[in-house]
């Protein structure tokens, strides 16, 4: 898939653990892991908004389009 999730990078920049982020945005660590690993088929605007709010960033900081 040409969309890459850079959640790991943002978590490292904010020095936040996955478990803490999952707790703040209200999803399970298993689902956050699916999102981080790029196995997710889609992301809800509400989830994306919550992640941006928790990490104080823009959607473009998390999602990136890479041409095949």
């Amino acid at each position: 898939m040409p969309i890459v999730v850079n959640l790991d990078v943002m978590l490292a920049k904010r020095k936040m653990k996955s478990k803490d982020l999952a707790e703040i945005i209200g999803i399970t660590t298993a689902n956050l892991s699916i999102l981080k690993s790029g196995k997710a088929k889609a992301i809800r605007f509400s989830t994306l908004g919550a992640i941006c709010e928790a990490l104080d960033c823009q959607p473009a900081d998390i999602l990136e389009y890479i041409e095949n």
Binding site: I27, N31, L32, I34, L35, K39, A40, K41, A42, I43, R44, T47
Partner: protein
């Protein structure tokens, strides 16, 4: 909202359980029918008045067992439906296993219904007994059920794909 959905799912599951029970009863009836048929054919002279219908027919004496072969196909189809329903009760409505089972059951019902229809038509034209007109109606009904099962299997397969997409939407 979530509670309402759970209630709805429970309601559907109760209906599926009821249907499963109904299929089990039908399987038992079929077993009794097979045993009763065997008893009447081999241990009594019940079948004698009807033997003239079959005597000069393609398979002769064995023509009376052709219908039984179609019944066996329907019976196997019922077993597949029972398996499919059991999986729905265990794993939830949308699962690939049930879809495959329903598709096989649908095929068996369609084949059984079609063959029974052809056989009844041939017997009707040959013997001019109105009795076989009812058999033809039953065959049509069986074919409709088989086709419906085929459609249900497709719905289950599509639903399974949608469920997977939904599960992977975070």
């Amino acid at each position: 909202m979530l509670l309402l959905n759970d209630n709805k799912i429970d309601l559907i599951m109760n209906k599926i359980k009821f249907l499963n029970g109904f299929v089990v009863v039908l399987i038992v009836i079929y077993l009794i029918h097979f045993l009763g048929d065997a008893y009447l054919t081999f241990f009594t002279d019940f079948i004698e008045p009807f033997e003239h219908l079959y005597k000069d027919f393609i398979f002769g004496y064995y023509t009376q067992f052709v219908g039984l072969v179609f019944s066996v196909l329907t019976f196997i189809g019922l077993l597949f439906i029972k398996n499919g329903l059991g999986e729905i009760i265990k794993e939830g409505f949308f699962n690939a296993y049930s879809a495959t089972k329903f598709k096989t059951a649908g095929k068996l019902f369609l084949i059984s219904g079609f063959l029974n229809l052809v056989f009844s038509m041939v017997l009707l034209f040959r013997s001019e007994e109105v009795l076989f007109l009812g058999e033809m109606g039953q065959s049509f009904l069986l074919m409709i059920i088989g086709f419906s099962l085929y459609i249900i299997a497709d719905i289950l397969q599509n639903g399974n794909l949608l469920k997977q997409e939904n599960d992977l939407t975070i």
